[in-house]
């Protein structure tokens, strides 16, 4: 606990000093020219864990943060139904396919693959947490190249929603989603992932966040993917 406080204090200090290492523009140059997508097809999450329930947590919470970053996104549940009709029961089946098929069939500029690599719940008497490891890879349906990627592993406290303080609207979501603790947690993880994503056309920050600095770890983490 003491450690956490120290980390928190240290991070506030570092944040205020602006010790960051890379701008969004330098990290993701493709997102600042005509390769930047207007529309993004979110492929239903690929779940590599044994926790079957984790898939839904991420699928139902990804549209909101991605849209709020300024991109047109399609409802994941409809996409899932379309895939099922085409015989695609698992998104892993389509991961290696040329992405041009998604431009042809959905008219989208980019596709986003989301992979859940870890979703490990730890229960304790007074405190619980979940270790979450995620990968996000966005590919252009024009060139098939990776235009944005992110991956991270983190431990999220599930007892007090202690991380919820970070973004104010997450708190209210946590309070109103009485259904389960894991919906707001997955949403929070998705929001964090898109914090490093250059903003799209529907955001007031469109083409205005290139100088926004992100820690190089975002990029480093992302390069672990391959």
């Amino acid at each position: 606990m003491k450690n956490l406080t120290l980390i928190f204090a240290a991070s506030l200090f570092l944040a205020s000093c602006g010790t960051t290492t890379q701008t969004k523009f330098d990290a993701y140059p493709a997102m600042y020219d005509d390769r930047q997508p207007l529309s993004v097809l979110v492929i239903p999450a690929i779940n590599k864990t044994t926790a079957a329930d984790a898939t839904d947590y991420f699928n139902v919470t990804i549209t909101e943060p991605l849209s709020n970053t300024g991109y047109y996104t399609m409802p994941v549940e409809i996409v899932k139904d379309i895939f099922l009709k085409e015989g695609v029961v698992d998104s892993a089946m389509i991961k290696g396919m040329p992405t041009s098929i998604f431009r042809k069939n959905f008219g989208v500029d980019a596709v986003l693959f989301v992979t859940i690599n870890a979703w490990d719940k730890n229960y304790a008497v007074i405190a619980g947490n979940v270790t979450v490891s995620m990968e996000y890879v966005m590919l252009s349906t024009d060139s098939n190249e990776i235009i944005w990627q992110y991956s991270a592993t983190q431990v999220v406290d599930t007892t007090a929603q202690s991380s919820g303080f970070i973004i104010a609207d997450l708190i209210s979501t946590a309070l109103t989603t009485a259904t389960t603790d894991y919906v707001p947690i997955a949403k929070q993880v998705n929001y964090q992932a898109f914090a490093g994503l250059p903003h799209g056309k529907y955001s007031t920050l469109y083409r205005a966040d290139g100088e926004q600095e992100i820690l190089v770890s975002l990029k480093d983490a992302a390069t672990d993917i391959e």
Partner: protein, 117 residues
Amino acid sequence: MKNHSILLILTIIFLAGCATPNTGYYWENYSGTLYNFKKNPNEKTRARHIKELETIIAKAGQKGSRVPPGVHAELGYMLAQNGEKSTAASHLQKEADIYPESKTFIERIYLMLGLEE
């Protein structure tokens, strides 16, 4: 592994300190009602999620903001499954009007649902 978590925390705190991005969307409890419907698909949870989508649209109307992406499409899709075909079609059309880039996708939904275009 540990390094990544700490760096992530640092990043988040830093980013949170930056200006809040604004698309002006209101999402209400979209994720929550969708999750409940997914988890226990029945008439009650379906009706609840439809109501949430209608609330999101109404709220955007009140605030004069854009209806978030996919909301009209999802509502149209669910209403079509309920057999309310004309209301469904008008919502799908609205999605394509607000977001012209959704045209191919919306045409695909029309086909899948067997709706007249």
